[in-house]
Amino acid sequence: MTHPTELALAMLADDALEAHDAVEVEQHLAGCDRCAAHVAALREESQALEAALAYDPASVSVPEFVKPASVRAMVTGSVVVLLIAASFSTARGLIDVSVPDAVKWFNPFNAGGAVNLLVRAGTFLLSDRGSQLASSIVETLGGIVIMLLLLWTASVLGRRIRGPMMMACIACAFALQPSRSEAVEIRHEHEGSVLIPADETIDDTLIALGDTVEVNGNVSGDLIALGRRVIVRGNVAGLVITGGESVTLDGSVDGSVLAGAETLTVSSRRIGRNLFGGGESVNVTDTSNIEQNMLVGGEKVTLAGHVGHDVLGGGEELEVASTIGGALTTYSKRMTLLAPAHVAGDVHAHGVEKKDHVVVSPGAVIGGQLITELDKMDLEKNRYLTAHFYGWELVWLAAAFVAGFALLWVVPALQRVPFDGVGDALRSGSYGMVALVATPIIAVLACITVIGIPVGAIALMAWCAGVYLAKVVVAQLIGSRVLDAVAEREEHFAVSLLVGLLILTFATNLPFVGGVIGFIVTVVGLGLLVLFVHDVIFDDESIEGV
């Protein structure tokens, strides 16, 4: 007698055989005790499996259902936010609540940024101010687009992120951000030069872009000047951000200065806060006066003038003739302290090649001590034997843990990112590499267009956060896998995060290979983040065919 196949019997036991096959097998069973008993055993087995897998739905606590935001709700929301913000802005214009600058942040009537632009666009329409109208509208549209993007992100991520309000708050904060100056004035000349004559005062923040940018007049807001040649002789009430082939700063600046140039010359008689400068050749002349700190780096750095607090300088060759209120710390092969120099605090010269490459001229005064650290000594010293090293590693670990805990609490889906072996590592690694390299480039390119500045800034911030959090994602991945292997039950994510971070801290500090491991971890983690965000945004269709 030929018995039916094992498959036929199993399918019969599951009532899955086609009707005519079933009849045939049933007929066989009637005459074959062995097969009948086998099918009965299979049926029992299936029932036992069902019982073993059964899950008591009553044991689950049902979370509240969060309805997805509809397009209509999003549009209505955006319009409401805009209207509220616009009315605040208008009300402020009518009442003109006068508060000191420092507390303006708390003032709910202080609608800034995008909203101000919107209201201004309306006024321009009424007063017909021609040429400025177009750029105003473009800026306004840019602002609206950014706000809509934020609201859209909030609605997409809302389901996964605890408290969709968090994102809504960010959007509102963006819309109602305090802006010190009412507007931004942009001067842009592709090939020619931008000249602000001495008798002109810019009442706004000024963005000047051109081949040559010469600002002789005063600026009451911030100044952003980019060009091949930048000269600032006027006074700036805010911050100065500038870059170019050659940059010369002559005027007084109330805020800080951020400058990067091939040749950077600073002779401002007053910089109210800090100077951050870098370039091939940096020259801070003796007429300059920096009230707080100075941080400069370059191939050849010459420093003079007065600095209120500390100076940190780096470069191949450093010459210092400044009067410094605090300490002077240098990282250079050669350091020379020239005659009128007066350093109230200590002088730390790091990384000098030979002891006699630190020269203190007669007449130069050091209030504290002169400490020279030779380049070779740094190499020879075993960093693993210093308490300093372990202290900083502990700080890094604690900070990463706090940041990681917050991230994983806010985005629980990141507690278990899908990751299976080498294939996923390569895939996320390649995405990570692209994100690591391309994001800053795109962000900088975006900043070239005015509307792109906020987009570029957001992208850069996201990039920085991503690079930092990449390690957290990988740490959680490693920690959860390790705990899965050794622990009986599922541990809280804080435990796996801590385990992962400890492993990573150890691995990235291994001699010789630590750096490479750190880089790989960053790239893979960044890739995982990119893929995760991609998966959240691009929803799939699972309803088809149900």
């Binding site: 498959l7 599951d14 055993a41 499996l49 897998l53 049902v62 259902f65 969060v66 149900v546």
Partner: protein
């Protein structure tokens, strides 16, 4: 007929969550997937046929969604192997060792053993014996033929029997 979504959600959540938990493994992932399934159902309410039980409909969505998530974990593809090879192996296997009692007595170990099965056996077994999906439904969800589903279930159960068979010491 208007569907009381909130009420249907409350009554069917447990089943949907259970399915996601069995398929995906982790509580957090399951909660997320269950929410996703209901969000999808909510968005597609106009395509819901009230003649069908709501729970069955949303369970179907959850099933597809979980399979999709698993597929993404595997770089967009779930591999179910060669049907003929699996069939040949299944037919050559001894038919002894089927003991429903072993399964009933060892609920926890059975679940662990299923979780440890290769994905190509694990998914059909969970869909058939937890989800109560028919061979046709499983075949459609996984993109297989009905017969292939039968072969995978058979092989999966054979593997389970081996894992769960009482060891020498236990049977003594």
């Amino acid at each position: 007929m208007k569907v009381d979504f909130e009420a249907e959600y409350r009554s069917s959540y447990g089943r949907v969550f259970g399915l996601c938990l069995r398929l995906l493994g982790g509580t957090v992932l399951a909660e997320d997937a269950a929410q996703d399934a209901f969000v999808r159902a909510y968005r597609a309410l106009d395509r819901y046929d009230p003649a069908q039980p709501f729970a069955a409909w949303v369970v179907g969505i959850a099933r597809n969604h979980c399979i999709d998530l698993l597929r993404r974990r595997r770089h967009g593809e779930l591999r179910f192997g060669d049907e003929a090879a699996d069939l040949a192996a299944a037919e050559s296997e001894s038919t002894e060792g089927i003991d429903a009692l072993v399964i009933s007595e060892r609920g926890g170990r059975v679940r662990a053993a299923i979780a440890a099965l290769p994905e190509k056996y694990r998914l059909p077994i969970l869909l058939a014996y937890y989800d109560d999906a028919s061979y046709d439904e499983i075949a459609e969800a996984l993109g297989l033929s009905r017969n292939h589903v039968g072969v995978l279930l058979l092989r999966g159960k054979q593997a389970l029997r081996k894992t769960l068979a009482p060891s020498e010491e236990e049977s003594r």
